[in-house]
Amino acid sequence: MSFLPYPWILDVVVVVLLFVGLLLFRTPGAARLGSGAAALGLLLAIAAELAGDTLGGWQLLGPALALGSLVGWLVAARVSMIQVPALVAFQHGCGGMAVLAISFLELLRTGEAGWSIERGSGLLGLIIGAATAAGSILAGGKLAGLLAGRPRVLPGHGLLLLGSVLLAGGLTAWVGGLPDTQLAWWAWPLVAVAAGIGWLIAVRVGGADMPVLISVLNASAGLAAALCGVLIGHRLLVVCGAVVASSGSLLTIAMCRAMNRSLLRVLTGLQPPSSAGHPVAAPRPEPALPAAPAPRSDATTDGPKTSVAPAGPPDSAPAPPDSADPGPTTSPQPSEEAPAAAPADPLDQAAAALRTAKQVMIVPGYGMALAQAQHDVMTLCRLLEERGAEVAFAIHPVAGRMPGHMNVLLAEADAPYEAMLELDDANARFPNTDVALVVGACDVVNPAAVEQEGTPISGMPILAVAAARTVLVCNLDAKPGYSGVENSLYHRPGVLLLLGDAQQTMVTLQAKLTAST
């Protein structure tokens, strides 16, 4: 950039474009402009870099730029929205490997011997880059269905992880003091150990915990880029990397909060020191009370607690759902016995409820995406709207495989943005909802999260669908969700289980609804 009289002016322009872009991320339309502004900023910086330096090696650089752009664009243009988390994970992996290569080359090039802040930063970037790359590729493989998605725990997993971290720390301390000719050799074992750390973390996480992992990888990819920027003394790398690290950390916190689990517990599988018998039950209802007079949420935050739990006091000892359940209508195997015992087919009952419904809330989960039911859900939604019902979507923060995934899946099926409600807004509306239609969601609507202690989902904020007049559950089966906790919602009165393939159920409901007019 030496050809510019004031090279920092370009940096300022790029940074301003970047932050304006981020501040525009409030509505989809503005966000599109914002994303464009950020892209323009980076394009300017790249153009200046290409024009300013006397670059050698065009025969390598040209094809690399062309191929990377072409493949990147082609893949992004073709993936379906259900594959987006896998693509993002693979892209994190590529970013991590790029940081790894650049940090390595720069560490060798500087020719310094011994410690400096740059070298320390570079080594840290090398480690985080390697861990991000290994973890992301494993996560991407799981999300794409190429590898088994369930979490794997090795014998002594925690100790193995701790040992790897200590080994990486020790190696770094030693490698950092070496002259750079030896550093070239000893950086490889360090990279291998770091990659092992990333692998150990990612292999432990699966299924519904993936949003946390992918957010952590987002943050670590940014941190690695920022550290690489300190190493090579590039301001834009530092700015962009730090912004990404902030963003990834915020999303990680949001995801952990939405599951009421600490990051450490998700990533290492550690159980909290307090087990089921520990008296955590009593203090929990209290914090909700001081929160009630908070400015914006009158009935929202404590909605689930008050409206979901009419059956038993939440601070009582953990009780099996059946004993606290007053409803005699269904038995533990409702799928088998309900049609025989009930006078009407549950699908007919469901259609009858939908026919008279004025307020319908659709609660989608990842199961909807797996069943490819989102388009049929939207068709049903339009049928209901034609009949004069108001339809909204209640979206739990951890529904899907990455933060906000469900919104994108619904947007692909042409759901209106305004109808996608967040947790608090949705819970405020459930008491006035005639029909809550749960499609492929289990843990996020499980009242056990607020009523039972000592389960993996205890304390997790849920969508309080039980407050609706009628609840239709269109899940594949009545088995517990990813958490393994029995869903006590299924045994409540007013809840109809429409088990089976969600797409088929939607088509049947559509047919019954149109036939009746």
Binding site: V84, A98, M402
Partner: protein, 95 residues
């Protein structure tokens, strides 16, 4: 040394400003946000390009080209998928 201090100040400032800007993004847009920041983390492409301007041995140049390839894939793919997703959202006025 003052350059380094400036860089560390830039690091802290960006962390704070980034936190401020991103905490205002509605959860409904979290997936496009993550794919955008994912593209931003490919800013390391600038570092790889700067390295190409220095004297490099052949293996180093090849490694650097691989870094350019990976970072470009990340950058272009990240912005492309972000734009595609945002274009899918129907409506956009806050109710």
């Amino acid at each position: 040394m003052s350059d380094l201090l400036l860089l560390l100040a830039v690091l802290l400032g960006s962390l704070g400003l980034g936190w401020f800007a991103i905490s205002r993004v509605p959860p409904r847009l979290h997936t496009p946000l993550m794919s955008l920041t994912n593209a931003l983390s490919a800013v390391t492409l600038l570092g790889a390009l700067a390295l190409f301007g220095t004297e490099l041995s052949t293996p180093a140049a090849v490694l650097c080209a691989v870094a350019v390839l990976l970072a470009t894939f990340n950058l272009v793919g990240g912005f492309a998928i972000t734009d595609r997703m945002l274009a899918m959202f129907r409506g956009g006025k806050r109710s």
